[in-house]
């Protein structure tokens, strides 16, 4: 993903496409979308990944999570024919040093979540899938899904603090 973002590397993008496009299509079809329409959304999402790559920050997002966000936005824009409100992006500083310890720690938290999901009973996993496919309303999401989200939230918070700090020091120089 960083090769796509920083070097606009098309073969790196083709690899991303080969990994994510079939999974994305499977995910979108789980929500009842037809194969043809799912491919249209996959096309939109993967092109957004290419065009919006500059907004990707590995200190606060995982590639899969970032793609999930884009996919949900595109799907809603298309299905409801209205533009979904999205938060203001925090401007990425043009030159920023990668903090590999933060990136690795975030990756570790994500893999803990992955393990937690695969360790769930099938019925619980279905609930998670339904919730993240956007099939549960906020009234239905009464309780937490049972996933340990506390540590990843504080880890992402550190990523955001790094970004704010980088922006601030950039303005001061």
């Amino acid at each position: 993903m960083l090769a796509v973002r920083d070097r606009r590397d098309k073969s790196a993008f083709a690899q991303l496409f080969d990994h994510y496009a079939p999974r994305l299509k499977g995910f979108i079809m789980r929500g009842g979308t037809s194969s043809a329409q799912a491919e249209e959304i996959v096309q939109d999402v993967m092109l957004s990944v290419w065009h919006k790559a500059a907004q990707f920050d590995p200190h606060q997002s995982q590639v899969s999570g970032w793609i999930y966000r884009i996919a949900r936005n595109r799907q809603i824009d298309i299905q409801r024919k209205e533009s979904r409100p999205v938060p203001e992006e925090i401007k990425q500083p043009e030159f920023t040093e990668l903090d590999s310890s933060q990136i690795v720690a975030l990756e570790q938290e994500a893999s803990k979540l992955r393990n937690a999901i695969s360790g769930l009973k099938p019925s619980q996993r279905d609930v998670i899938e339904q919730a993240y496919l956007g099939e549960l309303t906020h009234q239905e999401i009464q309780e937490q899904t049972g996933l340990p989200l506390g540590t990843i939230k504080s880890r992402i918070r550190l990523g955001l603090e790094k970004l704010r700090h980088d922006l601030k020091s950039m303005r001061e120089t």
Binding site: K10, F17, A21, P22, R23, K25, G26, F27, R30, A38, V42, Q43, L47, W50, K52, Q55, Q60, S61, Q62, S64, G65, W66, Y68, R69, A71, R72, E82, R84, P85, V86, P87, E88, A110, L113, R114, I117, S118, I128, E129, A131, Y132, L133, G134, E135, L136, T137, H138, Q139, I141, Q142, T145, L147, L149, I152, K153, I156, R157, L160, E161, R164
Partner: protein, 211 residues
């Protein structure tokens, strides 16, 4: 930014991240996340889980035509409009709902003004302008009301709310918000149903004011 005390509850953040929140509420949540890193981190955490769900989903074969089409399109310019920008106190997801630099205010009397940003059957989202020291008309709700403070502050029976704070008005909350002395209090408010005014005159006016 660290002064925000009243945040978006977790179920609403998950419903937002997964795309199942009515448009009016989604505007308030997106605006709050724009100014609140705590909720941005929670929302991003949910996106991470969503990403893991995608990783674990069984794959569906992609047609080779789609693959070559996407790869061929990389040199085309970005077809999607550029990301909207904040206008003054109005975060981008609010600012994109009105043309120009300032919202189109309509007087409700007593110096109170409103600007309806969007309204349909699923709910409405509006800006409210309440001069310092002035009270909002006493009202209750049928459904959930989400109010985000963009400027100034107000108090009601449940506490004090300043820039970035969100108040959750549940149907049983029957409250009278009063703007603090000083600069006018400007709020973004979303409802999924019309407000219920308790005194007769505003109730009669309600169909005309569209509150």
């Amino acid at each position: 930014m660290s002064d925000i005390r009243h945040h978006i509850p977790e179920p609403l953040l998950l419903a937002y991240a997964s795309g199942n929140l009515p448009h009016a509420y989604a505007v308030v949540v997106a605006a709050h996340i724009s100014v609140c890193d705590t909720c941005r981190a929670v929302s991003e955490g949910h996106a991470t889980v969503g990403g893991q769900v995608i990783e674990a989903t069984s794959r569906e074969p992609i047609s080779s035509a789609l693959r070559s089409r996407v790869l061929d399109m990389l040199d085309n310019p970005d077809p999607l409009p550029s990301t909207p920008q904040a206008k003054g106190i109005y975060p981008a997801p609010v600012a994109e709902l009105f043309p120009g630099q300032m919202p189109n205010w309509k007087s409700l009397g007593m110096g109170v003004k409103q600007s309806i940003l969007s309204q349909n059957r699923s709910g409405s989202v509006r800006l409210l302008y309440i001069p310092g020291g002035r009270a909002m008309p006493h009202h209750g709700h049928n459904g959930l009301e989400l109010t985000l403070v963009l400027q100034g502050a107000f108090r009601d029976e449940t506490g004090r709310f300043a820039r970035g704070d969100v108040e959750l008005g549940l149907p049983d909350l029957n409250h009278t918000p009063v703007a603090e002395e000083g600069p006018a209090c400007i709020c973004l408010a979303a409802t999924d149903a019309k407000l219920k005014f308790n005194s007769l005159i505003p109730r009669l006016l309600q169909p005309f004011l569209k509150i």
